[in-house]
Symmetry: C2
Subunit: 313 residues, 2 copies
């Protein structure tokens, strides 16, 4: 048995996972970021110890963190959303729980779940883009998970692909994340509404308050033919396909999976992306990566972290 921890800005979710990637039991606690790293690490340890009371043979723990980790040292280098910098997460946790702990980026471990468990290891060159509040990435090259020499690889959400009307959390302008995350499309929708464009469908679904607008409302309106919503989706598609082309220009994977909240738009989104990619091909008959929706949804974080631990111990 393995324990997978999905450390998010809102919740810490932990699960007991068997070697085949099935969640046997899970627990969730609010993260309460403002408490700082030591209190949060104590809660992670408590989740681990509670899960261990349900199995005598837990071999190791994997943790997906929402930022940059050094998988070799187990140090969280930078989590902007948690305000963590240089936190020796592995060392601190191993001291408390006494079994091996492995950490990596949350999208990287979500990729492990999708590629190793959901896709049963059939792909050896693959990418996952998690299109949530932010945009994360996971990368598999020649069957190995790639996090880069300094642990800052597979952060595809921070590729710079254009100029945007607002800056990214990371301080740069033009990051893929600022065009293709749920936060990005919400911001752009508000931007259009505040600049005189109208959408009855969106405003009705949002009960008249633009602060209620979310990704689901935008995609629902787009599917019903709403002009403003389609303008927002078209912009997302333009930049997401540009980001996908750039990933192809570097590693040319066999498949690119789309996960996160935005991926709930399903085939409506995938069909548009495929059409846009046809126009962006390097040459007419060029083969391109398959584009598919990720399968595991919210469980990918826990399952992937656990299987990541299994792979690395």
């Amino acid at each position: 048995m393995f324990i997978g921890i999905d450390l998010g800005g809102t919740n810490i979710a932990g699960g007991l996972v068997d070697a085949s990637g099935q969640i046997v039991r899970s627990i969730s606690k609010p993260t309460l970021v403002e408490r700082g790293s030591d209190a949060i690490i104590a809660d992670i340890a408590e989740i681990i110890q509670t899960l261990r009371t349900h199995s005598e043979d837990v071999e190791s723990v994997g943790i997906g963190i929402p930022g940059i980790a050094d998988p070799h040292t187990g140090v969280v280098l930078a989590c902007v959303n948690l305000n963590w910098y240089d936190v020796p997460l592995r060392e601190k946790l191993e001291t408390i729980v006494g079994i091996p702990v492995f950490i990596d980026n949350d999208a990287t471990v979500a990729g492990v779940a999708e590629f190793q468990v959901a896709q049963k290891g059939q792909y050896t060159n693959a990418v996952i883009l998690t299109l949530g509040t932010g945009v994360g990435g996971g990368l598999l090259v020649n069957g190995e998970v790639v996090s880069g020499h300094h642990g800052i690889g597979s952060e595809m959400g921070h590729m710079i692909i254009g100029e945007n009307f607002y800056d990214c959390n990371c301080g740069r302008n033009g990051c893929l994340e600022t065009f293709t995350s749920s936060k990005a499309i919400i911001k752009y929708t508000k931007h259009l509404l505040e600049n005189g464009e109208v959408s009855d469908l969106i405003m009705t679904a949002a009960h008249g308050d633009i602060n209620n607008i979310n990704g689901q409302i935008i995609f629902d309106a787009a599917k019903k033919g709403d002009a403003l919503a389609n303008k927002v989706v078209d912009r997302l598609v333009k930049y997401l396909s540009r980001g996908i082309i750039n990933i192809i220009c570097v590693v040319d994977p066999e498949i690119i999976l789309l996960g996160g909240g935005i991926s709930n738009a399903g085939d409506f989104l995938v069909d548009k992306i495929k059409l846009a990619l046809e126009d962006l091909k390097y040459y007419k008959n060029s083969a391109l990566a398959k584009i598919e929706i990720a399968k595991l949804k919210n469980d990918a974080g826990i399952i992937g972290a656990a299987i990541y631990a299994k792979m690395h111990q």
Copy 2:
């Protein structure tokens, strides 16, 4: 002994290379693209046979092609500059010369030369960007040369990183190549001059004819403080550092080498790139790939193709 062939749009260069990567003898012929692939393949075969008269133990041949190859089948999928599409180069050549032939992209084999020979294999995660007439890329991940699942990987020159005033040869707009190749900076310099900006230094060096402007003239003028030349170099630096950040966001290599004609600008260019990268870091204390000038210059193509053959036979 191995034979390396550097197939370019202007010349076909071939060399007899020993197992340590030293060129023992070399030959060059004009490509004369308009003759079509069969005549050019016949010339490549002739170069190979001539080189073999100087050594009895040539084991195999490597060829770097200026475009996209499928290393598994040995088919040239697309070379825009040669107007070659789906040319079975390996099969045709092996039929004539009777020894194994291996093909891959020219920048990929240049990377093999730099990383295996010049850097003596000390880096296992590395990138080379060849900044010539176009921009090519070579990629090493976990010690393996990566050309991607469909053979269209490590084409970093075609990442889309902005909007440009002219389209790329590949048909897209905003490719890295259209901001950072020698062709790109020449085009931008002419664009500025034709739109009323002036540079006495550049026009004197070009003997009064803007069609004589080349990369060397632009960098020489920039080093002497010429305002227009520095505007051109600053734009190159802005987009090249953006491209480098995007490569880091995907594979985070230990080192990025700059080759090709533009790299003759040396430290003048490297220092500016490093400064720009400091501003583009994902977080303040983030480690970044080393940026260095490639060492082998024009010989990289022949040496790399030969060593590529040695690695793959």
